[in-house]
């Protein structure tokens, strides 16, 4: 094949790929564009694509009239909190299974995976009632607990696949030199495990941020996360597209950006290491 032909192929594929990519991305693009329109321009027919009076009034209004900041704070607090607490249990577990496997390790790993496959509706009723009785309904503590537990298997699995890749020889050598498990963890394992831990945290924050079964069912006004805040938006504000778009943009922007950074980890984390 000649270079010119290569170039033409590349150009053709590029055009096709960009068309498809813009189509797939279009709903997000449209939401962002609409958020900068006036309400009138937002529902204009034919639709206005780029030539309209750009305004930021929707953002100002969403900011003032709803407790956006409180819901945003709830989302940050609960997704980050549940992941950090989850890591405290997941790191030692993954470490133990990666470095001191026993004949039960395989079973434990698969069993943990199976808990993730338990459909949430199977335990909705008891969790709801338990939470109601213990005052955890509509509380941050309750949600942190539930999200931590529902993501724990993914955390353990992701960490396990990362820890497996740390060369064992180094650990053996350290053990021969008489390093205690504590020192082993701090000086040898930690520096090599940190990238894996960071990836795990990143992906699980994204999952927790977007989780919408428990957040819709277990919260009311007080602790509503952005997921529930947006869902509630539809009653009084659903007809105001520009404001709806502004609120939506605010809700998804931080996590979409985080998501861009975590594409690789996503594959690994969500396939339980089956595809790398």
């Amino acid at each position: 094949m000649t270079n010119a032909m290569h170039g033409r192929h590349k150009l053709a594929f590029t055009v096709l790929a960009w068309i498809v990519a813009v189509l797939v991305f279009f709903p997000i693009l449209w939401t962002v564009l609409t958020s900068f329109k006036t309400e009138g321009a937002a529902v204009a027919i034919p639709p206005k694509f780029l030539f309209f009076d750009w305004t930021t009034e929707n953002y100002a209004e969403v900011w003032q009239r709803t407790d956006y900041l409180r819901h945003f704070g709830n989302s940050v607090l609960i997704s980050l909190g549940s992941c950090l607490i989850g890591l405290c249990a997941a790191i030692p577990a993954a470490w133990a299974m990666a470095f001191s496997p026993t004949r039960h390790t395989r079973f434990v790993l698969l069993w943990m995976l199976s808990t993730k496959m338990l459909p949430a509706v199977g335990v909705l009723v008891p969790i709801y009632l338990l939470f109601k009785r213990s005052g955890l309904l509509d509380s941050r503590t309750g949600l942190v607990l539930v999200l931590m537990l529902s993501n724990l298997p993914i955390m353990v699995w992701m960490l396990f696949t990362y820890f497996k890749e740390i060369p064992r020889d180094i650990l053996e050598a350290a053990r021969m030199d008489g390093a205690t498990p504590g020192r082993e963890l701090l000086h040898i394992l930690a520096p090599m495990a940190l990238p894996g831990i960071a990836s795990t945290l990143l992906l699980n924050v994204i999952l927790a941020w977007n989780e919408s079964f428990w957040t819709l069912n277990l919260t009311a006004a007080d602790t509503a996360l952005l997921t529930a805040f947006i869902a509630a938006f539809l009653a009084p504000e659903g007809l105001f597209y520009a404001k709806l778009s502004a609120a939506s943009t605010l809700a998804i922007a931080p996590i979409v950006v985080l998501g861009w950074l975590s594409q690789r980890q996503l594959v690994r984390g969500l396939t339980f290491g089956a595809v790398k």
Partner: protein, 290 residues
């Protein structure tokens, strides 16, 4: 090599996660099971008598149940077909040398990170609204009658919304798998005179089979408990036309306050998911090196 002390430490390190998950799984499941055999109405506490399989009979003979099972399968199945076929196509495209490949990739994966309530609201109002939505405008441009998407074809609309969110996931996983394909093998086949189609069928597809299986199984797990999209767009309606199993259990429990039959539904959902889980566990377990 591992000394007894090391082993003990390892068991200790493992135990918090195991105990947490055991409690999280065992207690609520046991409660669901217990409720499912009792007459338990949240609003009318009347002794919670043991009723045997009555709740199951009630739940399973409810016409909404059969419909919800059907809807669940239609939703899961059609989303799977769209995302797997589309994902293979997109992965093949992204695997080509492109100008601005990084940006194309970022654009295509983005929908996966949009929270379900937002995507459902945006699609419902700004695209599928029969008067003000973009689809209505497109229909007008092409001179066909506007469709009230969520009222007339609720399942199709939901499929579209959900597939949009999961297409990036399938694409990303299939692309990752595609990039691990040995290029030498493809080049050798090309040298032997195999055409593009033959190479795709005999080399690329078999290589992708594993990733496709993983995509199908993982998406099935998430799609079986599809909830937020239905909650935001159709509330399971019109009637029960777009009620899936998860939504039916939710409405029994938190809208009709019938804990007993909701629990029976929960048990049915668990059994259904377990059947599928067995397949996934086999697949993941097979290449698990411990």
């Amino acid at each position: 090599m591992a000394s007894i002390r090391n082993r003990a430490t390892a068991q200790l390190a493992l135990s918090p996660a195991v105990i947490l998950l055991l409690v999280w799984m065992a207690i609520p499941l046991a409660m669901t099971l217990w409720y499912s055999f009792h007459d338990y109405q949240l609003l009318m506490p009347r002794g919670n008598a043991f009723v045997g399989f009555e709740n199951y009979v009630y739940f399973l003979t409810d016409p909404a149940f059969l419909q919800s099972i059907g809807n669940t399968f239609v939703l899961v199945g059609s989303v799977l077909v769209i995302t797997v076929a589309g994902g293979i196509g997109l992965a093949l495209l992204l695997d080509q040398p492109l100008y601005g490949q990084g940006i194309v990739r970022v654009l295509i994966v983005s929908p996966f990170f949009v929270m379900p309530t937002v995507s459902a609201l945006v699609w419902k109002n700004m695209f599928m609204n029969p008067v003000k939505g973009l689809f209505a405008w497109l229909a007008q441009v092409f001179g066909v009658a506007a469709v009230d998407w969520l009222a007339q074809v609720p399942l199709l609309s939901l499929t579209l919304i959900v597939a949009w969110g999961w297409l990036p996931f399938a694409t990303l996983i299939l692309l990752t798998s595609l990039q691990s394909l040995d290029t030498e093998q493809k080049e050798a086949a090309a040298m032997d005179g195999a055409g593009a189609v033959a190479r795709f069928v005999h080399i690329t597809l078999p290589h992708l089979a594993r990733a496709v299986t993983v995509v199908i199984l993982i998406q099935t797990i998430f799609l079986l408990s599809l909830f937020a999209e239905i909650f935001v767009t159709t509330n399971g309606g019109p009637g029960t036309q777009s009620t899936n199993l998860a939504y039916l259990v939710y409405s029994q429990a938190l809208l009709r306050f019938d804990v007993g039959s909701a629990s029976a539904g929960g048990v049915v959902a668990v059994i259904l998911a377990n059947i599928l889980a067995i397949f996934l566990m086999r697949l993941v377990g097979r290449n698990l090196e411990v």
